[in-house]
């Protein structure tokens, strides 16, 4: 099992859960697995073309998947997939 770290803005979709345990071999499968449990998750992360939205970065164990193999980046046992959106608040 791997873990998806869900940022606060997406927790509305996950019923408040900040971490989701999923079985997945790739980032795409991780997103699909999360979506199976929490419908709407995928469309929060991926755009209409199925690509990761440009104002969201997905990291596997702290490394941006765009520097790896994108959505095909392997996810292994105990890996953490973090979905990180831009945040603008400061006030």
């Amino acid at each position: 099992m791997a873990t998806i770290f869900v940022p606060t803005p997406l927790r509305k979709v996950t019923g408040g859960e900040g971490k989701i345990r999923i079985r997945a071999a790739t980032v795409q499968q991780a997103i699909d697995s999360a979506n199976a449990v929490y419908p709407g998750f995928r469309e929060r992360v991926l755009d209409g073309d199925g690509e990761i939205k440009r104002f969201i970065n997905v990291f596997v164990n702290g490394v941006d998947v765009r520097k790896l193999q994108g959505r095909a980046t392997p996810v292994r046992e105990n890996d953490e997939v973090a979905v990180i959106p831009a945040m603008a608040g400061g006030n």
């Binding site: 770290f5 940022p7 606060t8 803005p9 997406l10 509305k12 900040g18 971490k19 929060r44 939205k53 440009r54 104002f55 970065n57 990291f59 702290g62 490394v63 941006d64 520097k67 973090a82 990180i84 959106p85 831009a86 945040m87 603008a88 608040g89 400061g90 006030n91």
Partner: protein
Amino acid sequence: MLGFTNDQIYRYSRHIILPDVGGAGQKKLLRAKVLLVGAGGLGSPSAMYLAAAGVGTLGIVEFDRVDLSNLQRQLLHRTQDVGRLKIDSAQDTLNALNPDVKVVKHQVVLDSTNIMEIIKDYDIVVNGTDNFPTRYLVNDACVFAGKPLVDGSIFMFEGQATVYDAAHGGPCYRCLFPTPPPPGEVPSCQEAGVLGVLPGIIGSIQAIETIKLILGKGDSLKGRLLLFDALAMEFREMRVEKDPHCPVCGEDPTITELIDYEQFCGVAFPEKPATAQDAEMVPA
């Protein structure tokens, strides 16, 4: 001793005895010029710790007035300051804390016509703004001016902090987030709420990073995005690298001049979005 007054030697004694600061480091702090964008949630702890540390010149960009609802987290301001300009309230608080600090007030709304003139006199910019258009403006201006940008942002129980320094091999904001979220997905910070202590953590981290940059000590957050989840009480670290294709700091930049947010986002940035529904995707 290095031109300190007796009071300064005593005031900064806990710095001066630190091997990585010392008298020479304290002098660097006293000579440093730091610009804080915003005197709100993040700007309050940053400004207060930088002032206490003896950073000699603190510029503050802020046009807003103190509102009662600010006081849950914005420690620069007090109940008696409600209705005053934040910049005046901030100056009073900082000078009461440390009269060594010269506070320079910039009571303006930052835009493409004034930002370069404002930031040119400062060594480091600390970002405590609360909206995407200003974040992109400040980032691009810092890239053009070659200034390090100590960045922080907060949302509900979660915060982010990093150091952007494109002039010295680091990434910039657009390396991570080349384009802003569509206007419909950009909420304002007032709607979702924020734990009052949270900006205290993130703003203090920004103050630490600023002091490290001034001293030239330690490993900065350049190239690392620090995430803080207060509910889980967890810190995470993501590696962020300079993007050679970055539209502003990359090898073949497509953005070569500043962009004002109305043009940038297509619509004027809403002060108060209609519903909390707007705030579900991307925090502001």
